[in-house]
């Protein structure tokens, strides 16, 4: 028996090591590349560890964001327009991602509740038609959406982006939440209704409080999807007041002189907010999913 346990642990840790190499290795390599000098990045044979460790790109982005030109140049760094506005654009992306995750969880929960709990004709039709709206590629809807946003004077507006992102996220939120709600024992609901609660009260007082883990899970999914959205951010935003992080990140690539280290550093930075967000709520994700979120 002991021997069997030992083999089991060896196998488990071997598998874990493989997992780490495959899923974390690529990202670590990106981080390492972002700490190199531009000319070392294009060196053959490959430079395995950055030497000297160069923080130049990060300095450029951070100092450019928080100090004015004079201070920055006194540190012998030249900050470009893109690096100056990059961190500021995180705020726009953050506002969008927060709002999308909040509103899609709230609206999604109310839409998911009847699908999970009520018995009406067309339940599955509703569930599937919600999914169907996402079947046509966003690319094909891009021009019509931009056209309507423009007609309604809502281009270059974060609210527009929040609405668009919600339409991407809502179907998935509703699907996840309806599955989650099904795992909550019906006895609780029946008892509440016996006490005179109507459906809205049941949803508000029983289902939603009991589903905090599920709601958080859906919220994180929503945050991650809308943080990284690029196409509509590109098409809707028009000024630096509303550029999102993905749009500014794309500006680091240039026709004339491409600085790859800065592009890579910008990519690394773009990953940090969603990771922090997800890690912060991670205990809810796991417990949320662990309670059987997708069990029908």
């Amino acid at each position: 028996m002991k021997r069997k346990n030992l083999t089991r642990y060896i196998l488990l840790y071997l598998a874990s090591a493989l997992f780490l190499v495959v899923f974390i290795g690529p990202f670590l390599w990106l981080v390492s590349s972002s700490l190199q000098l531009e000319r070392q990045l294009v060196k053959v044979p490959i430079v395995w560890l950055p030497d000297p460790l160069s923080l130049a790109s990060y300095k450029e982005i951070f100092m450019g964001a928080f100090f004015d030109e004079a201070v920055v140049s006194s540190h012998k760094i030249s900050s470009s327009y893109q690096s100056r506005i990059y961190l500021g654009s995180f705020l726009n992306s953050g506002i969008i991602a927060f709002s999308v995750s909040f509103f899609s969880v709230v609206f999604g929960a109310y839409a998911a509740y009847p699908i999970a709990r009520l018995n009406f004709r067309g339940r599955y039709t509703l569930l599937f038609s919600i999914l169907v709206v996402r079947l046509v590629p966003a690319l094909a809807l891009a021009i019509p959406i931009v056209l309507f946003a423009k007609k309604m004077g809502m281009n270059d507006n974060l609210v527009t982006l929040i609405l668009i992102n919600m339409s991407f996220v809502l179907p998935y939120t509703i699907w996840l939440l309806q599955a989650y709600f099904k795992t909550i024992p019906t006895e609780l609901e029946d008892a509440a209704r016996m006490d005179g609660c109507n459906r809205f009260q049941v949803a508000n007082k029983i289902i939603i409080p009991l589903s905090i883990p599920g709601l958080t899970t859906a919220g994180i999914l929503a945050f991650l999807l809308s943080w990284g959205e690029f196409l509509f951010a590109l098409l809707i935003t028009e000024t630096e007041q509303s550029f999102t992080s993905t749009v500014v990140a794309a500006m680091f690539a240039n026709d004339v002189d491409v600085n790859y280290v800065t592009i890579i550093a910008a990519g690394v930075l773009a990953v940090i907010p969603p990771v922090i967000f997800a890690l912060f709520f991670q205990k809810y994700i796991i417990s949320g999913l662990l309670s059987g979120a997708v069990k029908n």
């Binding site: 642990y9 840790y13 997992f19 780490l20 899923f23 974390i24 690529p26 990202f27 390599w29 990106l30 294009v42 060196k43 044979p45 490959i46 999604g108 109310y110 839409a111 009847p114 009520l118 018995n119 009406f120 599937f128 169907v132 709206v133 046509v136 590629p137 966003a138 690319l139 094909a140 809807l141 891009a142 019509p144 959406i145 056209l147 309507f148 339409s167 809502l170 998935y172 699907w175 599955a179 029946d190 209704r193 006490d195 109507n198 949803a203 991650l224 990284g228 959205e229 993905t246 990140a249 990519g267 773009a270 990953v271 990771v275 967000f277 999913l289 309670s291 997708v294 069990k295 029908n296």
Partner: protein, 308 residues
């Protein structure tokens, strides 16, 4: 459901003998979500459908009604069937890779051992990487001259010389599938992990006592009980994969030749490069209908699972 429910709700309605029909109640509950979906998707969708029935190229002043001619042109073009096949090869492989890897990863993370929590947390990293950054990451890893994959494979003796992975087939397709799956595995893993947690431990233990080996237990207990979860994973992943665009855009631009030209890329080319919105929209409608058909097949599958 039943008498209690009706009593409770009857206080809300004027006519004590009936409650709000559940269908209408459902509509009230889902109104905000449906409204947003309608405004942001249905209205543009209607316009895209309108475009698909017109000869609509921005470079031309005349944009006459064309009936089904755009559709006819697409369906009689070999290029469409080629890219449809490419889309299917991509989607089937990616969904298979994602589901299988996620399944085994979930089994691993479902075991009880020290460090499991850290692994679960780290799983978030690939998931949190924006699509565009993911594509750049893989382009950099696979760089023909400075890519770490080349350096590693050469050290491991797998290749003699650096290889330009994205310029030949089938390696271009394989790497696109790997890069795509890498980013999409974590979500699938978390969903399956959640499903695994709902399988009663006692059931597995009982089977073990009766002498069923690990494979048999997986085959006869875990997999059947996971069916609802796997169905959801399959539906989500198939929809995502059939619409793939970002990773193709950055890694291969549909090449070498047309070997990785999936439908998503064709739609982009027609809409944004040729400015032919008519054909682009018609292609999108065809892809949409196709995905709908697949979703209905899954629907039947899910429905059957529900009834059992």
């Amino acid at each position: 459901m039943g008498a209690f429910g009706q009593n409770a709700l009857s206080t809300m309605t004027k006519n004590p003998s009936s409650e709000i029909p559940q269908g209408r109640l459902a509509l009230i509950f889902s109104a905000p979500a449906l409204l947003i979906l309608a405004v942001t998707v249905l209205v543009p969708l209607a316009y895209a459908i309108y475009l698909s029935f017109h000869r609509y190229n921005l470079k031309r002043a005349k944009r006459p009604f064309a009936g089904f001619r755009n559709y006819e042109k697409i369906l009689t073009d070999d290029k469409f069937w080629d890219s449809l096949a490419t889309s299917f090869i991509f989607a089937v492989s990616a969904v298979a890779v994602i589901t299988v890897v996620a399944f085994f990863l979930a089994l691993l993370l479902n075991q009880d051992f020290a460090g499991r929590g850290i692994l679960r947390a780290l799983l978030l990293i690939p998931w949190a990487i924006p699509d565009v950054v993911n594509a750049l990451l893989w382009k950099w890893l696979l760089h023909p001259a400075f890519g770490v994959m080349n350096a590693l494979f050469q050290m491991g003796g797998i290749i003699d010389q650096y290889v330009a992975w994205l310029t030949t087939m089938p390696s271009a397709m394989i790497w696109v599938i790997i890069a795509y799956s890498w980013k999409n595995i974590p979500l699938a893993t978390l969903l399956i992990l959640a499903g695994l947690q709902t399988i009663p431990k006692t059931l597995l233990e009982a089977a073990e006592l009766e002498g069923a080996n690990a494979w048999k237990r997986t085959q006869y207990i875990t997999l059947p009980l996971l069916r609802p979860t796997l169905t959801v994973v399959l539906i989500f992943e198939t929809i995502f994969a059939l619409k793939v665009f970002d990773i193709i855009y950055v890694l291969t631009s549909g090449g070498p030749g047309k070997s990785t030209t999936v439908l998503g890329w064709s739609i982009y080319i027609n809409t944004f490069k040729k400015l032919d919105f008519g054909t682009g929209s018609a292609l999108a409608m065809i892809l949409g209908l196709l995905t709908l058909f697949i979703a209905i097949v899954f629907y039947a599958f899910l429905d059957r699972g529900e009834k059992q």
